[in-house]
Symmetry: C2
Subunit: 431 residues, 2 copies
């Protein structure tokens, strides 16, 4: 649990101090590029990013112009067929990868399946005794389900472990280490370079799920020498609900990866309609079916909304502001949290924090009801079963003063006990 | 090759006769529900259906209202989380399935992988000697690639055979028969009830790819007792480029199918975030990751564009008009086709025809250049390597007079030899 000032240097002691920080914020102008409903402080961009203003007009053009007027010819003339690579190249700039190394395809879940399947197969071709995959036991469930299913189909073991034990557990049985870069629940940022190196020292491949890090902090995949990464388009990339996912594989490895979902767009010559599959060179082999162009166009607008920070300091500036916002929240919330017996489960140390802060509500507190009470007052965070309140701080559109105001509302909801009126069975279904 | 009148009763001998047929067409009014560019006769709805007029406004509402204003709460309040089932229920009405039996998810390619994998596993649990999957050797390539990959991962054999040999080849080694309902290239409609029955008599399961039949003819999956079906959202369902796919499994079978892409939305209780996967009851288990809401909303508009025919006779009326249009085209085109040495490869008999007519161009004809010459004159069909011209006749927006006019243009392009100006290396990338 953080105390005032412990996580982000100086924490302002009043609202005016927050306004002053906003006045000095190099990214402040980007807020205007988003549609944000009046009266809402949106602390759930780690689940679904808000709407970039450019998206509606772009989609209207894709629908009315490219599809409506251009019809099937737009696969060529409007660049639809290239869109998975074009958007992938933009995402590459946000994750420390090179041009041509990232492709947009399918969902994060499906891409993770492809990735682990291909990686395990490759490893076992070299050493059949590598029959173990390690994953983080606090992983977002879909990752764990898919890893389990892939491992079952490959006849290898999946072991879900604490990330702090990983270095100790890596040995010559481990084929793949598959980790979430940021824990979806407590917001812990895992050390990608160190854990990648540890995996390599044990002869394992490192697969990273960037769902909660892409777009909110520098990742440096190539520099860290990671092997494969998958990520989500609808969180910090603001690509819209259920936006397609992306996948990257290191150039030294990609052409050795035979992913199992061998669809026509992963073929070396899709329009030859050849009877036999021949995997494309490079990351294109991770494509499968026809890409969902409308959702992809929205994703491109979302990625552009992050790239708009490049002239303003880019991901370094985004990361600095992200840490300032999470630090500010942790500092300001410490009082109400202590008074009511909540506990922060997000690491205090900046290098260990992603873009969110999570509070655990025990005792007679009902975290679901607290989140609903906040939403009713215009502060949108989310609840994660069984007992966690999550607050995401996306630096592109949030202000320091939003953090101040959100904490005032949270303090009031807790102090007055008004959250009790929001007890209910209905579940939030945000991701 | 059809002669005049052979395929669809009387073929009008002039343009006025076609106009008269249009005047009597019960579906004629539906044409106004689509955006069709001026000067274009669109004979490629079997590759990408055109834009329903309702789609742009609906997407603007989803983007600006549901996402922009409703933000993450729209997963509940705007019914996003239910959308794969809501749209699935609508599709069910078009394929002869019941409510709750169809779900929208992923791409056709990915769904086919899930389907064959689950079906083979189930079969082998009952009889490990069933180690063979049969598919049609003229299958759309992506189907064959995915079947091959799934079979390889399961250690069973895939054999690509001529559909006319299937009944002869079905024996107690066959686990699964996986066929395209309509051949993407020559437009042949396979006999789903008869081939399903033959599969069952041999103890095999029947999986159908409805990409080229859903929305253009009655299918009757449940009545035929088929086992699993997958289909495409962007052809006759008019769901937009790369629209998500759908999947159906017979209720007697679905809960025995453990598909391998076990993502959180296929879980029995996705929002419990349980560490272990427990497949949902029913078709929901074929979901995997978070659904692409924008593309799904467009698909719903597309499906609605077909359901709009229900009060006008529904799929029976659609099928009757489809056969009239393909028959009319075959009759009218017979002259130019014979003069220039093209050959129709689409079956003459109505029960064996899907919604398209395909011509093979041999000799010194360049089918790619012919298609380009037609497109330059506003008649949009497509080319399929190495030598096929395809013309799709979607009954919701095409008129008999369009068929007449298209044939005049084709005749002129062939008779004048002007197609020779359109020779080029660039490939069409339509699907």
């Amino acid at each position: 649990m953080t105390g005032p000032g412990s996580a982000a240097g100086t924490v302002p002691s009043d609202r005016a101090g927050c306004l002053a920080l906003d006045a000095a914020d190099p990214l402040a102008g980007l807020r205007e590029t988003f549609h944000l409903p009046d009266g809402v402080i949106y602390l759930d961009g780690n689940s679904l990013g808000p709407l970039p203003r450019a998206t509606a007009a772009r989609l209207a053009e894709v629908i009315g112009g490219e599809w409506g007027q251009g019809l099937v010819g737009s696969w060529n003339t409007a660049g639809w067929i290239e869109a998975p690579h074009r958007v992938g190249d933009k995402i590459a700039r946000l994750i420390g990868a090179g041009p041509g190394e990232v492709v947009v395809a399918d969902s994060t879940s499906v891409n993770l399946y492809k990735a682990v399947w291909a990686a395990v197969q490759w490893q076992r071709a070299g050493d059949p005794r590598r029959d173990l995959v390690l994953c983080d036991r606090t992983s977002f469930p879909t990752d764990r389900y898919l890893l389990a299913s892939a491992c079952a189909s490959l006849g290898v073991e999946l072991r879900a472990v604490a990330v702090e034990d990983v270095e100790h557990l890596l040995d010559d049985r481990v084929a793949v280490l598959a980790l979430n870069h940021v824990d979806y629940r407590n917001g812990r940022l895992h050390d990608l370079p160190v854990l990648t190196r540890a995996a390599h020292e044990a002869g394992a491949l490192a697969i990273w799920d960037l769902a909660h890090s892409a777009g909110v902090l520098p990742i440096g995949l190539a520099e860290a020498g990671a092997d494969i990464a998958v990520g989500c388009g609808y969180k910090y990339l603001n690509g819209g609900p259920g936006a397609p996912s992306f996948v990257w594989a290191h150039p030294r490895l990609v052409d050795r990866l035979d992913q199992p979902l061998q669809g026509w767009l992963g073929h070396r010559a899709p329009f030859d309609f050849a009877p036999e599959y021949l995997a494309a060179q490079g990351i294109s082999r991770f494509q499968c079916g026809t890409p969902p162009i409308l959702s992809l166009a929205a994703l491109e607008c979302g990625v552009d909304s992050v790239l708009a920070a490049e002239p303003l300091g880019g991901l370094a500036a985004i990361r600095a502001k992200s840490l300032a916002l999470t630090g500010l929240f942790s500092g300001l919330v410490a009082g109400p949290v202590a008074r009511h017996g909540l506990v922060s489960i997000t690491p205090d140390a900046a290098p260990e924090r992603g873009g969110q802060v999570a509070l655990r509500a025990g005792g007679d507190l009902d975290p679901y009801a607290i989140v609903q009470a906040l939403i009713a007052r215009g502060v949108v965070g989310d609840f994660r079963a069984p007992d966690v309140l999550r607050f995401g701080f996306a630096p592109l559109y949030l202000r320091h003063v939003d953090v101040w105001d959100a904490v005032q509302v949270l303090g009031e909801v807790l102090d007055t006990g008004r959250w009790r009126r929001h007890r209910r069975a209905h579940r939030s279904v945000v991701t």
